[in-house]
Subunit: 295 residues, 2 copies
Amino acid sequence: MDFTEWMRHVQQGTEAALGTLLPAANLAPQRLHEAMRYAVLGGGKRVRPLLVHAAGELTHAQPAQLMHAACAVELIHAYSLVHDDLPCMDDDVLRRGKPTVHIEYDEATALLVGDALQTLAFQVLTEHPVSSTAAGQIEVIRLLATASGSHGMAGGQAIDIASAGQAMTLEELEFMHLRKTGALIRAAILIGAHAGVAVTDIRRQHLDHYAKRVGLLFQVVDDILDAEANTATLGKTAGKDAAHNKPTYVSLLGLGKAKRLIDELLAEALEALTPLGTRAIRLRELADYVAHRAF
Amino acid sequence: MDFTEWMRHVQQGTEAALGTLLPAANLAPQRLHEAMRYAVLGGGKRVRPLLVHAAGELTHAQPAQLMHAACAVELIHAYSLVHDDLPCMDDDVLRRGKPTVHIEYDEATALLVGDALQTLAFQVLTEHPVSSTAAGQIEVIRLLATASGSHGMAGGQAIDIASAGQAMTLEELEFMHLRKTGALIRAAILIGAHAGVAVTDIRRQHLDHYAKRVGLLFQVVDDILDAEANTATLGKTAGKDAAHNKPTYVSLLGLGKAKRLIDELLAEALEALTPLGTRAIRLRELADYVAHRAF
């Protein structure tokens, strides 16, 4: 299978699995369940599920177990987007080319959709095997929780919200992004690898280095896309960072240096994979995909 | 130890344990962590932790394991209060006698506080033993997730929000409350019992019947307090249900019948405990406490 086929295969599998895991829209409370499905299904590049599966290939993990772990990570991501778009946060009306949840439904529903999607992520990890042992299963839940909480994604969001109109050093920007987007991307990779055979500490360190580089890479690309792309191709409102006067890699480094940073981060990510051998091919291809998406 | 001493002992232990589990206020992002502590510490009757401990006594569970399970349940409860008070939900300014989180801080912070408290609840259950086996630990996480999600607490909230100005039958009101407040109260009891020695199916059924009755009991009392008490004694805004034109046990039954319903639910709850013997004493005392608090 070439990369494009593999990617489409995982994306379609993820969509189908999420459709099964989400409560049916005809179950009470219907409006909430309909809005949960609206928020999750029918869009998104599923980058985090792709990373779960790619890392799982490295450790010979079972595709079925990876699928549930991938869905849990994607549910956390989806919840964060719904809450991020709320008026008190980024106040956005467009996401994945569709009206955001609070526009299509209402604010209270969007709040509860995010809350319930987060819960569902953890529920999925208790109801489906994602590791060969119960202790391994708990470790997957721990990885996901740690990445999502106040020392991870939610913490990054808090710094992001406070950053509007503030000056930031490059170190502070990196501190924020390692949490805001980096933590969940890293968790996706570690969880995927965890589902398979145990890896040595040194291999895990290489993988973790890759994971951190790809997380930052993703964010630098996001910043450039926000500055350069238009709303129609992006599927979400473009130019938001500048409008909110938020520090980004583009505002701190300028476009040219930000693009060179992409090349550097990609090179570092790929270098970290070298000792991991040929089974790291999907991780390699994904780093390349993340670096060059929509350019 | 008499009931009052036991209650104070559990409440103080819960406060101390929560203070340790919550991120320190001087860790970045400080404002988020400070607000998380503000939301959780220094208030609340800790009814759910009390129920966890009371149910754990029934099955000879370890107090230390019960403490972490109790904190996880309380963190879910605290998150739900923070989100509930937001302007797009109940729009409340007072909670436990203090300004609500979005008043003391801001809306974005309150949103993230709730999100991060939910995550922390699940994280706590992966980092501290709350059952004698890993499989038992996963079952505790599953019980908490199921009770909190769209078929439980968040689903009950969605129905509650949609109910303003709507007519409801008594069955629909019960359907809502079994989810909105009942699900987490039931989970507290089942989780507490789960932490100890295994119970027979028939004993679990009695306990579950008690749990459902106490959940409803709690809500009927809440409705009466909202209608009868004043804001100062309640520590939160009184008269909200009537102001929002929400169906309650008082609006559906009238005050007299609602009070008689309390007696009935209490009698049923206590009856369900009879076959469980003398170790159910704290559960018995708690049902009584829930029924008569603030009357």
